[in-house]
Structure formats: C-alpha cells, structure tokens
C-alpha cells in the first residue's frame, strides 16, 4: 500500500502503457477490447484514489511561491505527491511528477474521457489491436503532460502524445484522413520547435540563477516549480538581456504562446482543427477536443505565464485580441457550417478563445474561469462529438441540411443531445455558463484600478471594455448557432429516411449519462467540483504576477 501511495502518479502515467503492451499481446478482438477498457477503467479508478491523498484545505496566506511544496504541504496551492528521480544529471533533467490544483481537474478529466471514449471505440473493427494500443499509449502521453513538473519531461510527453494521434487520425479516419493527419502533425510540430528553443534557452539562463555549487556540481534547472518562484524571477531579471520585459523574454514568451496556441487552437492557427475533427473517428474526436486541446491551455498556465509573467503582462493586448477574435470568428464560422461535426469543431475554437482571453486578462476571476472553461469544454465537447457520432453511425452523413425530425424518432437521444447543446451554449445551471461568466467577469474586473494590467499601466479602460463587450457578443452568437442546430437536427417533421433509426443503445447511454451528470453537477455546484481545487493555486500563481 505504501508503495502504491508513494508512486501513485507514476503508476497512473505508465499503467496505460502496460495496457498497450498487453493489448498487443492479446488474442482475439474481444480480448483486445476488454483489455483496453479494463486498463482505462483501472486508470480512472486510480485517478479517483488521488482524492484520498490530495488535500485542499484552506489557503496558505504565507505560502512563499506559486507551486513550491515548502512550509505548507497541506494547501492545494502547492504541489503534492511529488516523485523525483534524476534522469539526465548532466543537464539536471529530472523525472519529476506532481499534482496541484491546476493539474488535478485535468487529470481527472483525462482519465474520465479516456474511459468513455474507450467504450465509445467498441465498434472499431479495422486493426483493433493497433488502435487500442495507440489509444492507451496516447493516454500515457496526455497524463505525462499534465503531471510532469520538469520542463524537459513535459516537452517529451508533449511530443510523444503527438505520434499516436497522427496514426489514430491517419489510419482510422475518414476519406481525407491523410491530409488531416499530416496537417495536424505539421502544425503542432511548428509549435513544438518553438517550445524546444525556449526549453534550451531558459535552461541556459537558469544556469546563471542556479550556478554550480559544491553540493550540486551541475548548474541550471528544468524544474518548473523552481522556475515559477519569485526568487528565480528576480535573478532572471538580472541575467536575461533586457530583463524580464526585454526583447529576449518577450521572444521566449511569444514562442511558448505560439506553441500552445496552435494546440489550443486559437485563430489564426486553428485551421488544422476542423480538418482533424472531421476526419477523426468519433472517440478520437472526443479525446482531441476534450483533452488534447487542453494540453495547450494547460501549457499556457503551467509554463508560459509562470515563467514569463512580466512579458505576459506587457503583451496582454496581443493575446487578449487573439482570444476575442477566436471567440467571435470561431462562432461565426460555426454558424456557417453545413457539416455537423465541423460546426462542433468551430465551436471548440470559439470556446477555447475564452481560455486565451481569460489568461490574457490576468485577474483571479478570469484565470479561474479559463481553467473552468477547459474542464467544462472537455465535458461538453466530448458529449457533442459523441452525439454527432451517434447520428453519423445511423445516417452515414453529417449534413445539417438533410437532417430534421430526429426528436420524434429518437426521443432519448434528443434529450441527451439537448443537454449537450445547452451546456455548450452556456445555459445557466449547466457547466458552460460558469466558465463564460467567470471569464467575462474577470475581463471587466481587469478594468478596475487595482488589477494587474491597470496598475502597471499597460492597459486602458477603453481597451479592456471594448474587448469585454465584443467577447460578450460571442455568447449571443454561440446561443444562435447552437439553437439553430437543435432546430435543424431534432425539430421539424419526421423524415421518412430516418424513421427506422434505432434509439440510443445501452453502450451509448453508458457513455452519455456520466457526461450529462457531470455537465449538470459542474453547472450547479462549481465550487465543490472545481474551484475547491484551483482557487488556491491561482492565487498562489498571482504572487508571481504582482
């Protein structure tokens, strides 16, 4: 038991890999499917065990810095359950994993969605062994990204998760799968090369912050906990040419942001997403939208902002505009789609725009909102893509113009779908609402004179209000296209061609029910299910900004 407790996170990360190996060894399609589902289920259960060990008792007023586990081991503003081992001593690269309020919700989301999409993958017939092996391998990559605290390790997992996705889209995708897969791959690769440069660059300068000592002969660090401390920032300011707001810091920050914004994806780096989604099989779309996009968002909060808070503040306007443009442009694009799946894909662009905006505004509310938005979008987008998958499996097309009247044929399905759409458009009481409101609230709060942006004089009231008001229109547009979609798909007279459609079967209900429950629970009890985790982490992070 002790061993389990001490290595829970490592087990969590590598259990799916073990599952992948066993899947490859399994004989027969049923054995393969059951192995894969069992392993995703065990991983999910283990991630639930984290509740027992994770503690989120009240805030620590004198916690020294953002994530460091120091004198306050019980606060969730700190990193917990840290496991460390030296990996590359020559560069001080560690295998260091840990969990805090930032990563905990995303880890839970990942194991949850992976379990559901493994169930949703039940009908995969083509090379199912390879499919499930890659699927489980992908889960390892995802969990590794969310749990690593070493920048190098983070980068490795970030890249490793890229490869299985390429194959999953490329082999099991739709008609234009090859194009979509390579486009996804190349876009992300461009971003990660930028990350690589920052990775090496920050290490180079960290050697000045942590010079070699007698006890530790190797200088420098890749430790993100150490890098996100005020002490580190102060020293970095002296070493970095131009200081923390100079050209180099800004370049590093922009490279990081571009790397993550491609993954998020934000306009103008978003064009891979609709292609990837349209071609990917349903379960992979679920993972892509619900988890992979969050790796970008997580990177912004875990790496970009804590490492270069000053540069982030200086450049807030650029990324706020990127966020607002993503919200509006994504919504407008979604409105004009005729393909159901593409519509959901563009709505992802629009929703993830709130995450970018929330980060850029740098207020407690906006950042908490952005983090919530990631989880909420994880739930709703997975649900929406599954809903699309259900109708596609029956109708074999996704043309919105040819649909209609499904409410009569499939009432239960319509019920689930409506919850999904409502949660997506941000109906109060469902999860989408909280995220949007928090981000918009935070955006308006940024105009207060004691906000970080106003205090440092980089922003004006006019800029902030203009952006906030434009972003608000995004909510209206979202409501517009979602309601129109419901109308086109479910309402209207029953169509002859869809009359014989079977209602959602048990397997589909098994997938949809937990998602529905989570959408409602997050909507009505956001504090218990979410902010209890993040609030302290975010406020700890704010000590870096001010």
């Amino acid at each position: 038991m002790d061993f389990l407790n001490q290595h829970l996170l490592t087990i969590l990360i590598f259990l799916p890999t073990l599952g992948a190996v066993l899947t490859l060894l399994a004989r027969g399609r049923d054995a393969v499917r059951w192995t894969a589902i069992t392993f995703t289920a065990i991983t999910f259960v283990i991630s639930l065990l984290l509740f027992a060990t994770f503690s989120w008792r009240g805030p620590e007023p004198d916690a020294k810095y953002a994530y460091a586990a120091g004198d306050s081991p019980t606060s969730n503003g700190t990193v917990q359950m840290v496991e460390e081992a030296s990996w590359i001593p020559a560069f001080n690269v560690q295998y260091k994993v840990g969990i805090d309020g930032l990563s905990f919700p995303l880890v839970l989301l990942s194991t949850f969605i992976c379990l559901l999409s493994a169930i949703a993958s039940w009908n995969i017939e083509k090379m199912s062994k390879g499919y499930f092996a890659l699927f489980l391998f992908l889960e390892t990559g995802i969990l590794g990204v969310f749990l690593s605290l070493d920048f190098f390790l983070f980068y490795v997992f970030f890249e490793v998760s890229l490869l299985p996705m390429y194959f999953l889209i490329g082999i099991w995708g739709g008609p234009r799968k090859e194009y979509a897969a390579i486009k996804f791959f190349l876009y992300t690769l461009v971003g990660s090369i930028g990350l690589l440069i920052v990775l090496i660059g920050t290490y180079l300068y960290s050697r000045g912050v942590y010079p070699a000592t007698a006890t530790n002969p190797v200088s420098g660090t890749f430790d993100m906990v150490k890098m996100a401390s005020p002490e580190f920032q102060q020293k970095l300011a002296e070493i970095l040419p131009g200081g923390l707001t100079g050209g180099l810091a800004k370049t590093f920050f922009v490279l990081l942001m571009v790397g993550f914004l491609i993954k998020v994806p934000a306009v103008p780096f978003h064009t891979w997403l609709p292609d990837a989604h349209v071609e990917a099989p349903t379960p992979i779309s679920m993972i892509l939208a619900a988890i992979l996009l969050k790796m970008g968002g997580y990177g912004i909060f875990r790496v970009a902002y804590p490492l270069f808070p000053e540069a982030a503040r200086e450049l807030w306007l650029v990324f706020a505009i990127v966020g607002v443009v993503s919200i509006i442009y994504g919504a407008l694009c979604a409105m004009s789609q005729t393909d159901f799946k593409k519509l959901v894909a563009y709505s992802s662009v629009s929703h993830m725009g709130f995450v970018t905006l929330g980060a850029a505004m740098m207020t407690t509310a906006s950042m908490n909102g952005a983090l919530f938005m990631m989880i909420a979008h994880g739930i709703t987008s997975a649900m929406m893509f599954f809903v699309v998958g259900v109708v596609y499996e029956r109708a074999h097309h996704r043309e919105l113009g040819r649909m209609g009247g499904l409410a009569t044929t499939m009432p239960v399905y319509t019920g689930f779908s409506t919850v999904a759409c409502m949660a997506n458009l941000g109906l109060p009481g469902l999860c989408g609402f909280i995220g949007e409101v928090m981000v918009l609230l935070g955006t308006f709060q940024a105009a207060r004179s004691d906000s970080i942006l106003m205090r440092s004089g980089v922003a004006t009231h006019t800029q902030i209000y203009t952006l906030a008001v434009i972003a608000c229109f995004g909510v209206v547009l979202t409501a517009g296209y979602m309601l129109w979609t419901i109308q086109r798909v479910f309402f209207g007279p029953e169509r002859a061609e869809y009359r014989g459609f079977p209602e959602v079967d048990q397997r589909e209900i098994v997938v949809l029910t937990p998602l529905t429950v989570m959408a409602i629970l997050l909507g009505i009890l956001p504090t218990i299910f979410f902010f209890a985790f993040t609030t302290n982490t975010v406020s700890a992070m704010f000590k870096l900004f001010s």
Binding site: I88, A90, I182, V190, I197
Partner: protein
C-alpha cells in the same frame, strides 16, 4: 638495432607508440586475410564476409583494450591518437561491422560468386582510409587518407559491373572526386607555400628542435591573404565533397541510388563522419591557436562553414520532398544531417557572454554524439530499405504501401528510424539534435541564426519523413506479406532498440561523449621556450613574404 642505425634508418616505432594504431594495423591484416581467403575456400564470398567481420571485431576489441593512449611526440607531426580519434574509430568499426551484417542479409546473394575478396578488400581499405582521416595531423597525411578512403569507394560504387546506373554513378563519383581532390591538393600546397610547414600541430623534433605547426604559424602571422583564402577554399572543397556539403553534394543521391545498398549505407555514415572529424580537427587546431578569440581568419572560416551547413541542411531537406526512391530520399536526408553537424564546426570562437565555453570540446562532443546516434538511424533505415528491396525488388517509396500490414515488425522499425531522423522523442535522434542545439545556444551570438536554421529545417523535414510512414501505414496495398531476412530483421530491431535506449539513457551517452571530446592540443608539449623562439625567428622571413 646498431645495424639499422648504421644505415641511417631514422626511426622504428616501438610497441607503445604503435599500440594506439592497433585497429588500423588489424585492418591492414584483414585486407590481406580477405585477399588470401579464396586460396582456402572454394566459394569465397560468405567466407570473406566472415573474415572481414572477425577482423573488424578483433580490431574493435583490441582498440578498446588498448584505450586512447598518448600520441608519441614522434608521431605527432603525422598522425595523432587523441580521444576524438579513438572514439571515431570505435564508432567506425561498429558501423562497418553493421554494414557487413547488413550485406549478409541484403545483397550477399546478388554478389557474383568470386567477387567477395575484392569487395571486402576494397571495403576494408576504405575503412582504413576513414580511420586514418580521424587521426591525420599533416597536410600530406590528410590528403593521403582522404584518397585512401575515396579510391576504393569509387570502385565500390560501381561494383555492380553490369548495372548501367551503377556505372554511371561510379563515373560521376570519380569525376567529382578527382576534381575536388585536385582543388584540395592545390589548396594544401598554397598553405604549405604560405606557412612552410605540412604539420598541423607544433612539435618537438627528435633532435630537440622546435617545429611550429601550421595552426601556430597561421595564428602568429594573422591577417588574411589571397593565398590563405585559396588554401582554405581548397581544403573546404575537398572535405566538403566527402561530407557532401552543398554545392559539392551532387554525387551523393546518384551514387546512393546507383550503388548497391550496403555501399550506400557505408558511404552515408563512414565517409561523412570521417570527413567531419577531419575538418573538426583542422579547424579546431587553428581556433585553439587563436585562443578562441574572434579574429578575421576564424570568423570568416566559421561564417563560411556555418552558412554552408545551413544551406546544406536546407537543400537536403527541400530536395528530399520530390524523391520517389527511398535511397535517394535517404541520400538527401543524409546531406541534411551532414549540414546539421557542419554547423557545430562553425563554433570557432567564443562570444563575449560565453567565457566558460570550450568550442573545440563542445563541438567535438556534439559531433561525436550525433554520429553515434546517426549511425544507428541510417544503418537501420538502409537495412529496412535493403530488405524490402530484396523481397519486392523495388526501391520506390510507393511500393512500401501497406507495409504496416504486410510486414509489421519491419514497418515499425522503419517508422522508428524516420521519427528518429526527424528528431522527435522518444528516440535518440531527438537528443542528438537537442545536444547540438544546446552547444550552439551556449555560445549565442550569431550562432542563433544556425539554431533558427536547424529549427526551420526540422519542420521542413517532417513532411518527407512522414511521407514514408504515411505510405507504410495509411496507404493500402494488395501486395503479398513477407517476414524478411531474420538477420536483417534482427539488425533493424537492434538499431530501433538502441535508439530508444540512447534516448532514455541520454545521460550515460553524453557522459561517454564528454569523456572522449578532447582533441590533441595544437601547441607543442615538450618544447622549451628557446626552441620556440628560434622557430619563430626562422618563420619570420616567410611571414614577411605575404602580400
């Protein structure tokens, strides 16, 4: 001994002085053994292969047993045996053993019975030349070792005598090689004329007098002259040809396509690696004598090498886009990788911010590590190409369609090699590139441009490496399934596993390369100041001759 002394035999090296060259001696022995094999065996091809393998194995083991050793003062003017040379020889021997194993699994059956002795004698001779290229510290020795590596390679490239493409490739190779050799020897003669010495490193002669080396004299006289430009130009042309740096790369794809696949593999790593080590040695000797301080000579050489490196990588990666033949694709990929490694050699001076940076050691370390990784990537990729060729008779990438189903293990290995060549984790290609970028980063300055060039090139290369993976896994085919030769399959699996292990074990790997990154110092070790004074005085008139 008295008799030898009486007839004026100058110097008979003892065992201690010869022992660092044990691998080269064994190679010479292997050449003889291979040539003698047909007298004892009726069907000599496979036997020759085995003899070569055993000879290489003995050479490797004895080299590892002897270790690096110190260069004797007597050998210093001609050949040195420093850590870098040692490491390069170890890599080379391992690689050539891999090539011989690959020959057994791919082209052994197509080699005309009775040609084996010639083939392996040439292969061993070229290996010997490349091994000496890693040690050469004299302009004559440099030229001779390059020729010893080149001449057998020309023949090897055209070894499939009845094959028209092979003959054409060989001819092209010879013509290019002859022209660049001529330019190189002309350039070297200019350097000799300018500085009056053939030896690269300063040394103390047998009678105790001090002999200043080329690097030292160059540093002392400073200043760029027309002759120096011609000399360095000739040197870079000659070595650039072996490295297949742009614009001397035209032979590379044609030869790789025309030659049998084992020869292509051999040339892709051994020839380029040897030339890179040689260039590294010459340039770093000069840089060291300038104290790694920026100055007109090293800055211009560094700029030229850096620019050539960046252009080579870019040309290699862009030209690879349109290739349909796997060997041509790998040829352009090898050009690109040579370009990356050339970038490391451009680190000839320190920037003001990097005072604790030792360019010679860092560059040597980066190149050795890159070569160690590159060896397995290329050996593996070429082996898979050879096995597929043997089964399907095709080298077209389009005939790899559906390989993921037809031969899953082989396809998986190929995917590993492609991902590693691209430089993505979790394979060693990533750490090789990372290490190289890291070295460039440490120096900063204008080397940032090279970092950006390498970054952009990585993105450029993604498409064509992934095209192979796409064809193997995403395209379907009705062609029959096959398993592939077990030996070749084993070799590919070993290479893939090695790449994975070198990624996870990056730390031990970099420790090893850091352990062997020391180049011989260009300054004389045993020379007293008076001798140096005298030597400097002797050099003065020659320096005054400069325009």
């Amino acid at each position: 001994m008295t008799f030898l002394a009486s007839i004026g035999a100058p110097y008979i090296p003892g065992w201690v002085e010869l022992s660092p060259f044990i691998a080269d001696l064994w190679l010479i022995g292997t050449i003889v053994a291979v040539l003698l094999t047909p007298f004892f065996v009726r069907r000599p091809n496979a036997a020759c292969g085995l003899v070569a393998l055993v000879g290489l194995g003995i050479a490797l083991v004895s080299l590892l047993t002897v270790g690096t050793g110190n260069t004797s003062e007597k050998f210093r003017p001609m050949l040195v045996t420093d850590d870098v040379a040692f490491f390069w020889k170890v890599l080379l021997l391992i690689f050539v053993m891999g090539v011989v194993l690959m020959w057994f699994s791919t082209t052994a059956s197509t080699l005309h019975e009775g040609d084996g002795p010639e083939f392996f004698a040439l292969l061993m001779a070229a290996t010997l030349g490349m091994s000496l290229m890693g040690s050469a510290s004299n302009l004559l020795m440099l030229f001779m070792s390059v020729e010893l590596a080149s001449l057998p390679s020309y023949v090897l490239a055209g070894f499939r005598k009845t094959d028209r493409i092979g003959a054409e490739a060989s001819l092209k190779y010879v013509l290019f090689g002859a022209a660049t050799s001529a330019i190189m020897v002309y350039g070297l003669s200019m350097l000799y004329g300018l500085y009056g010495t053939l030896q690269l490193y300063s040394s103390t002669a047998a009678d105790g007098s001090y002999v200043a080396g080329l690097a030292e004299v160059m540093a002392r006289t400073g200043g760029i002259s027309a002759l120096l430009v011609v000399g360095i130009f000739g040197l870079i042309v000659g070595i650039g040809f072996k490295v297949s740096a742009v614009p001397f790369h035209f032979w590379c794809p044609d030869v790789f396509e025309g030659a049998s696949i084992d020869v292509s593999t051999f040339l892709s790593v051994a020839s380029k690696g040897a030339a890179l080590v040689l260039l590294l040695r010459v340039m770093m000797a000069i840089a060291e004598q300038f104290g790694y301080e920026p100055n007109a000579i090293t800055t211009s050489i560094a700029a030229v090498i850096g620019v050539i490196g960046a252009i080579t990588a870019t040309v290699g990666n862009t030209a690879a886009y349109v290739q349909t033949n796997i060997k041509r694709l790998l040829a352009y990929s090898s050009i690109a990788h040579a370009g990356y490694m050339l970038c490391a050699i451009s680190l000839l001076s320190r920037t003001s911010t990097s005072t604790d940076f030792y360019p010679a050691r860092e560059a040597a370390q980066a190149i050795l590590l890159y070569l160690a990784v590159y060896l397995f990537m290329n050996l593996g990729a070429f082996t898979v190409a050879g096995l597929v060729h043997r089964e399907t008779g095709s080298e077209q990438i389009s005939d790899y369609a559906g390989l993921g189903r037809r031969s899953p293990l082989l396809a998986a290995c190929m995917a590993v090699f492609m991902i590693s060549l691209l430089g993505l984790p979790p394979f060693a290609g990533f750490v090789a590139k990372l290490n190289l970028l890291w070295v460039l980063f440490q120096n900063g300055g204008w080397w940032w441009g090279l970092i950006i060039a390498i970054a952009v090139n990585t993105i450029l290369s993604a498409y064509f490496y992934f095209r192979v993976i796409r064809v193997m896994y995403l395209d379907s085919s009705t062609a029959p399934a096959f398993v592939g030769n077990p030996l070749g399959l084993g070799l590919s699996v070993v290479c893939s596993v090695a790449l994975l292990l070198m990624f996870v074990g990056f730390s031990p790997l970099s420790n090893v390369t850091h352990r062997y990154d020391r180049l011989e110092s260009a300054a004389a070790t045993g020379a007293g100041p008076p001798a140096a004074q005298a030597s400097r005085a002797a050099m003065a008139p020659r320096a005054a001759l400069q325009p």
